[in-house]
């Protein structure tokens, strides 16, 4: 065995639909056992990335590989599990039948009872799929995704339509799979989902990876903190202070972005003793994400 832990790769992949560029020479590696979250606005190319790794589309340029092989071959796909965003499963089949069918595609499937209990659908096995609630249907789809003891699991927006309890129990199941050595590629709109689960986050915008790293690294990339306060100070003067990145003013309310919040706060309090309603916030993943996407936009416009 070699020491290459990369089990799924996109190398300089380009893909266009008509005149729309979906992916613009993207590089993406997924390592054995890691949980990678793909974030990005709608239309950024997240689902196209997953589609290429699943062999649903062919790359216009570059290569997509799964376990070093072409994802359009069935061999490497026998080692994966899939949960897609929109899949209307046959409404008249029972949950147990759907699980048995999916398991039959794999060489060494997970026992049905185990899948059902991991996904929390053990009490639904005799029910027809069409009679289930949206959240229950998603759990069934998750049970199907792990039916084949996958080494890598692709989850495209897995918790859409789930309430908070269901979402948390799905997160627990995902963590359990990752602890057992399964890699997971997750696309999500819920930033807290990426924060709760991901080892590594990859932000995609306009068909390119614009940021890649741990959740902490991503947050640190936007080291800015935001200071908000009510003050009579002139925004123009504050904007001229060292370490102040930007100032927005609305009437007496200032919003200051800075990497050196402590220094700026000290100076603010000194300059305006009547300053009130002081707030200092670290950028969350949401803000980091917006900041990065905006930065990518600006870079593209400048180019």
């Amino acid at each position: 065995m070699n020491n290459d832990t990369r089990i799924a790769r996109l190398e300089h992949v380009g893909k266009r639909y008509g005149t729309v560029v979906a992916l613009d020479g993207i590089d993406l590696d997924i390592h054995r056992g890691e949980l990678l979250a793909l974030l990005g606005p709608n239309g950024a190319g997240k689902s196209t990335c997953i589609g290429l790794l699943l062999g649903l589309h062919r790359a216009d340029s570059g290569t997509a590989t799964l376990f070093g092989e072409d994802p359009q071959d069935i061999g490497p796909r026998r080692r994966i599990g899939v949960m897609l965003q929109a899949a209307n499963l046959p409404a008249t089949l029972k949950v147990g039948e759907l699980l048995r069918l999916t398991a039959s595609y794999y060489p060494d499937p997970r026992p049905l009872a185990e899948c059902a209990s991991l996904a929390g659908v053990a009490d639904l096995l005799g029910r027809r799929y069409g009679a289930l609630s949206g959240g229950q249907q998603r759990r069934v789809q998750f049970a199907m995704a792990m039916a084949g003891r996958p080494e890598i699991l692709f989850l495209d927006e897995p918790t859409v339509g789930m309430d908070i309890t269901a979402r948390q129990s799905l997160w627990a199941a995902i963590r359990q799979l990752v602890a057992g050595g399964c890699a997971v590629v997750l696309t999500t709109h819920y930033l807290e989902e990426a924060e709760a689960l991901a080892d590594r986050v990859c932000v995609i915008a306009k068909g390119k990876v614009v940021s890649e790293g741990s959740v902490d690294a991503l947050r640190a990339r936007v080291a800015l903190r935001r200071i908000r306060c009510l003050t009579s100070l002139d925004p123009g003067i504050v904007a001229g202070w060292p370490d102040v990145a930007s100032v927005e003013a609305r009437q007496d309310r200032l919003a200051i972005a800075t990497t050196q919040a402590e220094v700026v706060v000290r100076r603010l309090l000194h300059a305006d003793p009547s300053l009130s309603e002081l707030e200092v916030q670290r950028a969350g993943l949401a803000e980091a994400f917006t900041e990065i996407a905006r930065g990518a936009d600006a870079a593209q416009e400048a180019a």
Partner: protein, 263 residues
């Protein structure tokens, strides 16, 4: 809380044995049959239309008919009946599943290639067998058609296998249309073809022009074979079989090309 073993073997790839591969095909066919047999919206019209037509025209309104009528109508409505599972079961379901994401999921999963289409084919054959059996029972036990067991078996075989060209046609239609519009499109093919092939009104009483173009429709050729099976044929069976096989190959070839290109 029972401990669940979620560990996976690192780098050890378990091969798919022939037995497991066969099981995948069997499970797919079983699931496909079950889901349609449980769907009254599909099953009832498919079974009822030919049976009701046969009961109406072959039995209730059959006093003035000739002695051959029960067999003649058995061939016509049998052919009409076995076209439906192929056209609708294949065509409409493929069109809907291309739209709903189910086909995408199946393509992403390691479903053996062909299992999807073979599953649908088994379903169409099974439903065609049910239609043919119902009509045979009506013809023999209610209409009193003179059919020795060998002819009945021949008719059953012709009609069941005869659903295959229409499955191929449904497959092609399913790749051409997408989503909710599919049932309408399939009916636009199904009903005129049944009429033009002489399944509702016997060809000899139709305008000569319509008679002359009847051999263009696959349903005409299956009807000829069915008539021959019940003892009312006028020869040329080999030609009809060849034409139906030709239609099937052409439909499947075009459909396969479209599926590969567009998914």
């Amino acid at each position: 809380m029972t401990a669940i073993d979620t560990a996976i073997g690192q780098g050890t790839v378990v091969a798919m044995t022939p037995g497991r591969l066969l099981d995948a095909y069997v499970q797919e066919a079983k699931a496909e049959c079950l889901r349609y047999l449980r769907n009254p919206g599909f099953l009832l019209p498919t079974l009822l239309f030919p049976s009701v037509f046969y009961v109406m025209f072959g039995i209730f309104l059959g006093h003035a008919n000739s002695a051959d009528a029960p067999r003649y109508l058995l061939a016509s409505y049998g052919t009409f009946g076995v076209m439906a599972p192929g056209l609708f079961g294949f065509g409409v379901s493929l069109a809907l599943e291309r739209d709903s994401g189910l086909l995408t999921l199946k393509r992403a999963l390691p479903m053996p290639p062909g299992a999807y289409l073979l599953g649908k084919m088994c379903m169409a054959l099974l439903v065609a067998a049910i239609v043919a059996a119902i009509l045979l029972c009506l013809a023999i036990f209610v209409a009193g058609a003179a059919l020795p067991p060998s002819r009945a078996a021949g008719f059953f075989g012709v009609e069941v296998l005869g659903s295959l060209p229409f499955s191929a046609m449904g497959l092609l239609l399913g790749t051409l249309v997408k989503g909710q519009g599919a049932p309408g499109v399939v009916n636009l093919v199904y009903l005129p073809m049944a009429f033009l092939s002489g399944l509702w009104i016997p060809l000899p009483v139709m305008p000569p022009f319509l008679q002359s173009i009847a051999p263009l429709w696959p349903a005409y050729h299956l009807d000829r074979l069915a008539l021959s099976a019940v003892g009312l044929g006028d020869g040329g069976d080999a030609v009809h079989v060849a034409v139906l096989a030709g239609f099937t190959i052409v439909f499947v070839a075009i459909a396969a090309r479209r599926l590969r290109r567009h998914g």
